[in-house]
């Protein structure tokens, strides 16, 4: 089962449910979207004649196999299905636009009932449909982090004080799971969501920052502060008008001015809630766009004495680490105003700005942590084999990966661990080219282990 095809169907389904809520289920736009979703659903099911989607808590299983990244990317859609008590649904190539429209209306809460049809039917959940997932606990802490952020966002919008202790608890759990599975954590940090970009981006930045913090030897207490700062670094965006955040074209001067206020909005909210010693969390929100040379925003009134700090400027260590992680995740994400950069290009962009935009030591440490080919990268070897990088190694050390396709292009049933010399690498391939999803590969390898 091609996870991208499933993701394509879920994307269209989410769009239909969104339009159903916004315009009504029988609006022309809703119906058009349902048409496209029906096409996607049919394409998804044509290979086996029937696709069985199972939602168990926050995991999506297809034909008995967990789709880890899709589960995270469509966390909110899966949640809608859970709340509508839809745990198992079968889709066949006979699915029609009407089936999709009615189903979308159900999960959007517009309708309360659904009549099964040959193309789409809601089935009973069977225990054997749900397999063990090697990244289950890590993903659970990922979704818990999303929930924490949603709660923080809700508090911010309603003017209530943030709960930093709850944030710290969430970070602690995420840290524990990430330490237990560091490579899987880095793979999960590649999950993107346009739907709730700020939240997913914040969790990814947190994961990357924690990994970077561990690399530079921070103790547990420091890691918690760092993680909380990373998780909340963009929380001020919830105070910015959504029309500006989602603006697809270039921003005018006034729009930029409002965008640039969000670090101080976030810092204010965190500062109000911070207990003594936690104020450094606010520093991350405040400083992460300031740049080490002081040319960023907001303008730091305390940045004029750089020479007193050995030329580094007064930005806190945590701010330096988070700004690198933040930029990397942003560059590798697709936004309404830009296409994503591939990982190596993103690292290059950050490296080019080391010294003025970013702390050069933080940049070098980050590159070392991610590697020239970060975990999840697909490489074609000179022999024609296709390998997925599974963990980071030193710049001059052989690569460690999982063999996923043979020289003929045939998929390897259970990925095999391999060691690859750098000179054997021919080029780097996009996921769409390979047709595989990194966390799925990881799951397949882990399930067989």
């Amino acid at each position: 089962m091609n996870e991208q095809v499933v993701a394509g169907f879920l994307t269209s389904l989410r769009r239909v449910s969104g339009f159903a809520r916004l315009y009504g289920p029988s609006h022309p736009l809703s119906l058009e979207a349902a048409e496209e979703s029906a096409v996607a659903g049919a394409a998804m099911s044509v290979e086996k004649g029937r696709t069985h989607l199972v939602v168990s808590e926050d995991s999506l299983f297809v034909d008995g196999r967990v789709l880890a990244r899709t589960s995270l990317e469509f966390n909110s859609l899966l949640r809608m299905m859970n709340e509508s008590r839809v745990h198992s649904v079968a889709v066949t190539p006979q699915v029609t636009a009407d089936d999709i429209a009615r189903f979308a209306a159900l999960i959007a809460g517009v309708d309360e009932s659904f009549d099964d049809s040959p193309g789409l039917s809601i089935t009973d959940l069977i225990e054997t449909d749900v397999a063990r997932s090697v990244t289950g606990e890590l993903r659970r802490s990922y979704t818990d982090s999303l929930d924490t952020l949603r709660g923080v966002g809700s508090s911010l919008r309603s003017g209530k004080r943030l709960d930093l202790n709850a944030t710290a608890d969430t970070v602690e759990t995420l840290l524990d799971k990430a330490v237990a599975q560091p490579s899987a954590a880095l793979l999960l940090s590649t999950v993107k969501s346009h739907h709730e970009y700020t939240f997913y981006h914040s969790v990814n930045t947190c994961i990357l920052s924690l990994a970077l913090g561990r690399m530079v030897g921070l103790d547990d207490e420091a890691l918690l502060l760092l993680g909380a700062g990373a998780l909340l670094h963009d929380i001020g965006k919830l105070g910015v008008s959504p029309s500006i955040l989602s603006h697809p074209g270039r921003l005018n001067a006034k729009q930029w001015e409002e965008i640039r206020r969000y670090p101080q909005v976030g810092a204010e909210a965190i500062l109000e809630a911070a207990e003594p010693g936690q104020e450094v969390t606010a520093a991350v929100a405040f400083e992460h766009h300031a740049r080490v040379d002081g040319s960023g925003y907001p303008r730091l009134v305390y940045h004029d004495h750089a020479h007193e700090h050995g030329g580094r400027g007064p930005l806190h260590l945590f701010s330096r680490l988070v700004s690198v992680a933040d930029t990397y995740d942003a560059l590798t994400s697709r936004r309404s105003y830009r296409m994503p950069d591939p990982p190596s290009r993103a690292l290059q962009i950050i490296l080019d700005s080391a010294g003025n935009g970013y702390d050069p030591d933080a940049v070098h440490a980050f590159i070392r942590m991610m590697g020239v080919y970060p975990p999840g990268s697909f490489l074609r070897l000179r022999s024609g084999l296709i390998v997925m990088v599974s963990e980071t190694t030193g710049p001059d050390e052989p690569l460690k990966g999982l063999l996923v396709r043979g020289s003929t292009g045939a998929e390897i049933g259970v990925p095999e661990p391999v060691t690859v010399m750098r000179e054997d690498v021919l080029d780097q391939l996009a996921e769409t080219t390979v047709g595989l999803e990194p966390t799925a590969v990881f799951e397949a390898f882990g399930a067989a282990a």
Partner: protein, 657 residues
């Protein structure tokens, strides 16, 4: 392959109105459906008359719409009445208008209007799934208002066509697009089925597009502009999702077609084109730049220049675009890729030393405290007025909390955060007000006592106790205890300089020591009001207060206090006269010499003589020295007065003179 956005397929013709037709149902006769582009010219003859009539109707509806958006019930307003009149003056009925997101049309001819209201009304109507409006008879004001209310309401998925009829409106009919779609009669499935507001792509079209990149690019452009215009302004998710769809579609086109599309995008004035161009990364644009024709290439460079001027965040991307434009893809692209990899490897090799240096930046709690303080400093410096109070309150609460738990070092740092931040007087006063409010309460007394006896040097005492001085207890504490006053004196001075108001209030206190302490602290202030108030203390009944007032006055105004000091030499209390003398001795003003010498000659009081000589002894002018010498050298002093002067002069000049 282009993925078209199908908004629906329409029959070749649409139907004319029948008087017996019910609103919302299909008419009987078939008339030609509009064809051609939106800006196609009028066809002439009867069509031309119909188009002219249509323009009048659009004008009337626009006026009515604009009035309706300003007034909930525009009936009776002049503009609305004019719209009704325009509609009543149409040459015939019925008059039909077709509706697209971009505006109205009549018989396929777009009815351009200079009024923005026309476009907005069309868009709102289209969002309801309405394909046409028919004015069957001159509408009444009530009829027109019903129509406007219906069109302004948010679409809820229901067919609004029957609603006018339900409301009793017969002069206006709405034609739902879906109903027109469902009409089997007249439906012709061939290449000629087109509509100005929808793109129907048949298999033949797609096949032709693959062979003709320009056609594919043109179709893409049409779909892009139509697709984005169909969405509501505030449908951010929809617009973003639509953009992604188009980006995916674009990516699926052949390279030649993509290059042609980029050329179209760069030439287009439509905002949708610019929005879409911004989606493409520099690599994409650069990769295709080599395929652009010579006319388009300058447009791309102009686009890059404009984008660079828009915002710094695109600078790196645009560098990449220009680089890729110059080098193109192919072998050079591979060389660039290898160069990138090597740069990254080099960066990774720097990591061990980098990590060691980063570890040194983590000394512990101190740096975290500094960071927190910096944030407060930074926020106070940049936030607007509304946020300022919120930040000030946060800061004040933290200071109070820190003092309450005895963490004076932390309260130290927090208070020091605001010192030195340039801010308007109003803001500074507001900040201290907030701080004062945070410290209100009986717990302050105990804290004040503990702080005053902290046992540290004056420097730390200043910082630690400063926040507490804004309330009265610590001033009283200092006034009551000489040792505490000594310890706290420097801090008092700092606070009085920042905000003298509380100290001025204490000048009225019944306790003279409090008054004196406040007067002492106010020596750090230079305000005219303080000077005036201190001068008022020179008549205080308590000599201690008068003594302090002299000292404070001299501190503030310097030598300008000389006349007052000279007058104080006649004060009833010896302490005051003594203080005045000491201060005068330090003032380098020859007029003082003249006054003192005159006093010396005039007075008969031995004590005053002694004081005067003591002061004069400290003066440095030659005239004074000569006078004292002369006094001391008198061999025969017949009067007691002269003898006393001689003896005192000899005393101050040294024995044996």
């Amino acid at each position: 392959m282009v993925v078209p956005i199908k908004t629906g397929t329409y029959p070749r013709g649409h139907t004319a109105v029948s008087p017996d037709r019910q609103p919302g149902t299909l008419p009987d006769a078939i008339e030609p459906w509009p064809t051609g582009e939106f800006d196609a010219p009028a066809t002439g003859g009867a069509d031309e008359a119909a188009v002219d009539a249509g323009r009048s109707v659009v004008e009337a509806l626009s006026v009515a719409w604009a009035t309706f958006t300003a007034f909930e019930d525009p009936r009776g307003l002049e503009a609305f009445e004019r719209a009704i009149e325009l509609l009543a003056n149409c040459p015939w009925y019925p008059i039909r208008l077709e509706i697209a997101p971009a505006g109205f049309a009549s018989r396929g001819v777009p009815l351009a209007s200079r009024r923005e209201a026309a476009r907005r009304m069309a868009r709102s109507t289209f969002a309801h799934g309405i394909g046409g409006i028919e004015i069957a008879a001159p509408p009444s004001p009530d009829d027109l208002l019903h129509l406007l209310r219906l069109m302004a309401s948010p679409p809820d998925g229901t067919d609004p066509s029957p609603l006018l009829g339900t409301a009793g409106v017969e002069s206006i009919v709405l034609l739902h697009r879906r109903l027109l779609v469902d009409e089997a009669e007249g439906f012709v499935d061939d290449d000629e089925i087109t509509d100005f507001d929808v793109l129907v792509v048949t298999d033949e079209d797609e096949e032709r597009a693959e062979q003709e990149p320009e056609t594919e690019a043109a179709m893409f452009m049409t779909e892009l502009t139509l697709g984005l215009s169909m969405l509501a302004e505030d449908d951010h998710e929809g617009r973003a999702a639509a953009l992604h769809t188009f980006v995916n579609a674009f990516s699926g086109m052949s390279r030649t077609a993509r290059a042609a599309a980029i050329g179209e995008l760069l030439r287009s004035d439509d905002p949708a084109a610019e929005i879409f161009l911004d989606q493409l990364g520099s690599l994409e644009l650069g990769d295709l730049a080599s395929r652009l024709d010579s006319d388009t290439h300058p447009l791309l460079m102009e686009y890059a220049r404009l984008a660079a001027e828009q915002g710094e965040q695109r600078h790196v991307e645009l560098l990449g675009l220009l680089t890729n434009t110059e080098t193109g893809g192919g072998p050079i692209g591979l060389v660039i890729a290898e160069s990138v990899q090597e740069a990254l490897r080099a960066g990774a090799r720097e990591a061990p030393a980098a990590i060691a240096r980063l570890r040194d930046l983590r000394p512990g709690r101190t740096s975290d405290t500094v960071a927190g303080v910096n944030v407060i400093k930074g926020l106070l410096a940049v936030v607007g007025d509304e946020s300022f109070f919120a930040v000030a309150r946060s800061w004040a609460d933290k200071v109070a909390d820190a003092v309450a738990i005895g963490d004076l070092e932390h309260s130290d740092s927090l208070f020091a955060a605001i010192v030195g931040i340039p801010m308007a007087d109003g803001r500074q006063a507001a900040l201290l007000d907030v701080l004062g409010a945070a410290f209100a309460g009986p717990a302050l007394d105990a804290a004040a006592d503990a702080v005053a006896w902290a046992g540290d040097g004056p420097g730390r005492a200043i910082r630690r106790t400063a926040p507490l001085f804004l309330s009265g207890p610590l001033i009283r504490h200092a006034a009551a205890n000489p040792d505490a006053r000594r310890r706290l004196a420097p801090a008092l001075a700092i606070l009085a300089r920042i905000r003298p108001a509380p100290f001025l209030a204490h000048l009225e206190d019944r306790n003279p020591l409090v008054v004196a302490t406040a007067a002492f602290a106010l020596g750090a202030s230079k305000s005219a009001e303080v000077v005036k108030r201190i001068e008022g203390l020179l008549d205080h009944s308590n000599p201690t207060v008068r003594v302090q007032a002299l000292g404070t006055l001299h501190t503030i105004v310097g030598d300008a206090a000389t006349p007052t000091l000279l007058e104080a030499l006649d004060d009833a209390h010896e302490k005051v006269r003594s203080r005045a003398s000491r201060i005068l001795a330090s003032i380098d003003d020859p007029r003082i010499d003249e006054v003192l010498l005159a006093r010396l000659d005039r007075t008969t009081d031995p004590a005053e003589q002694t004081r005067a000589i003591d002061v004069l002894a400290k003066r440095t002018s030659p005239k004074v020295a000569a006078h004292l010498t002369d006094l001391a050298s008198k061999r025969f002093a017949w009067s007691r007065r002269v003898r006393h002067l001689r003896d005192e002069a000899r005393r101050v000049l040294g024995a044996g003179t």
